[in-house]
Every structure is written in C-alpha cells, then in structure tokens.
C-alpha cells in the first residue's frame, strides 16, 4: 500500500531535498518531488521545505526563495490547515514568508556549525510531534550558519505563552543551558509552530536522523507522527 503523500520542494540551491524524500520513503510515506516553479503540491497531504542554501542564501537565508511561485501553494496549504514542515533553510523560508513568526539570524559563534545535538520536545500539539511526549529528548544533527532564532519581546512572549515552542536545544538528559545551544537561539528555541500548530519550522535535521546506518534516529518520531496525522488516502 502506498502511504500518505508528502511533497518535498526543490528550490535552486536546496540540498537536503533528496534526504527528505528518502526519509519519507523510509517511514512508509509516498514522496512527491515538487519544483519551485510548480503552482501546486501534486496533490500531497503534507509538504516539507527542505534544508540547503536556496539561492545561495544571498541577502538572508530564505529571502529570495519565499518569492518562488510554489510558495503561493504552500501558503494555501497552510491556510487550509495542511501540515507544513520547514527544516533548516525551510524554516528560514517560512519565517521570511511570514508563515512563522520571528527570524533566524547569524549564529552567535559567527560560524557554520555541523554537530549532533539533543532537542527536547515541548508540545505534542503538532502533526509532527503527536506521537511524542513533552519532555522527550531526541538526538538530531544541526548544520547551519544562520540558525539563531530571534523575535521581538511581544512575539516571543506570545509564542511561549501559547505553547508554540516545539523543540528546545538541551543536554542528553533534557536540561537547558548555553553549552547545549549551538547557535545562541533565544530561549534555546530549536523549533516553533504557527498559532494553529500545523506549520512547524525547526533548525535541526530530522530527515538526517531516520537511518541508523548514517546517524542518530531522533527524527523518526516526527515522520511517524506525520504519517498518522495524514493517513494514506484521506
């Protein structure tokens, strides 16, 4: 049987699109490649904006990609409550497009960082974390140069109060602290959701954490949650 259809968008400069397609396949979903010039999502139930350096990350990461024709379809999909996951560059694009609040700025260390980190799930109320318990810790890799989440105080307060922080960087044991925060993100924020919870952005790479042969497996629950949220053929 073919599982739920998950679109993965390829922008010029997308890098982890193949990995995201592979991850969808690995957990039993049906990957649907979508091109940045396309005007629809190929009838997909959910969509992933993958990591990479769309348009070379010129100006700001995601600044140019958010104008791509396909982003209209992404916005519609989000509007209808469809699941949208932005990973790394995808997260940056969603923020630039205004589908998520805040912005992702240059890492505090001023350098790209590729490292295995741990993130703590803060809410089950998204299609990507429904099978997780708040407080659960996942090992996942990060690899980015502009991942420091920032937002103005009011926005930040709202995100926190409404429980829209999805992941925070933490120790293997789940404790928070600057030494566990790879980019200086405000409140150790690694991922957030929109007010309805259907649009999620995160800097860590769950698609690089599904295959035990090449890394940790902390990304599996996200894809499993997604397949449950959008059962095949619904």
């Amino acid at each position: 049987m073919s599982g739920s259809r998950v679109a993965v968008i390829t922008f010029p400069g997308s890098l982890d699109d193949r990995d995201a397609l592979r991850a969808v396949r690995l957990v039993g979903g049906t990957p649907v490649p979508v091109w940045h010039r396309d005007r629809d999502l190929g009838g997909a139930d959910a969509v992933i904006l993958p990591g990479g350096f769309s348009y070379g990350d010129h100006l700001r990461a995601g600044a140019i990609a958010r104008f791509a024709p396909v982003m209209v379809a992404v916005a519609d999909h989000a509007e209808r409550g469809g699941p949208v996951l932005g990973i790394c560059n995808g997260f940056q694009i969603l923020c630039e497009a205004g589908l998520l609040p805040g912005a992702l700025t240059r890492n505090a260390g001023l350098a790209f960082v590729c490292r295995r980190v741990h993130v703590r799930c803060e809410t089950s109320a998204t299609p990507f974390t429904s099978t997780l318990e708040p407080g659960e810790v996942l090992p996942v890799p990060v690899k980015h140069g502009e991942g420091r989440f920032v937002a103005d105080p009011e926005t930040l307060e709202r995100i926190e109060d409404e429980g829209r922080v999805v992941f925070r960087y933490c120790s293997p044991g789940g404790d928070l602290g600057d030494e566990w925060n790879p980019n200086g993100a405000t409140n150790h924020i690694a991922g957030i959701a929109n007010d309805r919870g259907n649009v999620v952005g995160m800097m860590p790479h769950p698609e690089h954490a599904v295959d035990p042969e090449v890394g940790p497996t902390g990304g599996q629950p996200l894809f499993e949650s997604l397949l449950q949220a959008v059962p095949a053929g619904v």
Binding site: L59, R60, A63, I64, F67, C95, E96, P101, G102, A103, T105, R106, N107, A108, G109, L110, V150, A151, D152, G184
Partner: protein
C-alpha cells in the same frame, strides 16, 4: 531616465550584532583603541530605469522593504540617488 541608488540595511537598534561585536573585540588586539558601538550591515547599489524620480523611488522602497531587508530584524534607508544618464 536612469538613476543609481544606494541602500543601507542595518539590524534594528535593539538587535544583537555578533559580527559588530567581533570587530570591536578584534580592534584592541590589532593595537587600535577608542573604537566603540560597531554595527555591521549591508550596502546595496542598484540602477533603476523609470519615467520619473518618484516612480524610481517607489520601486526602490518596494525592493528595499520587501527583499533587501527583513522588517522583523532590520531597517533600511535609501541614500540620495544620482542620475546616471
């Protein structure tokens, strides 16, 4: 009619600027003292072809506000434009 514009994009006053900080920290090690409040940003120059000065300016404001800068973290200013025939 063509005009050359200069646009400056800087982080909003409150926003941390790690790069500016790094420059500030590097200065004393190079033997330069007395420099403070270093802020870094982007400088963009572009040529616009439009019937009128107004039309050109309007376009530049659009591009600067929606593409060159992100209002969530940055602010921009357009420096005086000059005609380039």
């Amino acid at each position: 009619m063509k005009r050359r514009f200069e646009i400056v994009v800087m982080l909003k006053p409150g926003m941390a600027d790690p790069q500016g900080r790094a420059v500030e920290d590097a200065l004393p090690t190079m033997g330069w003292s007395g420099v403070t409040d270093v802020r870094t940003g982007k400088h963009v120059e572009l040529t616009v072809e439009a019937e009128s000065e107004e039309a050109a300016r309007a376009l530049v404001e659009q591009v600067a506000g929606r593409l060159l800068s992100n209002p969530v973290i940055e602010e921009y200013r357009v420096l005086a434009a000059e005609e380039v025939g």
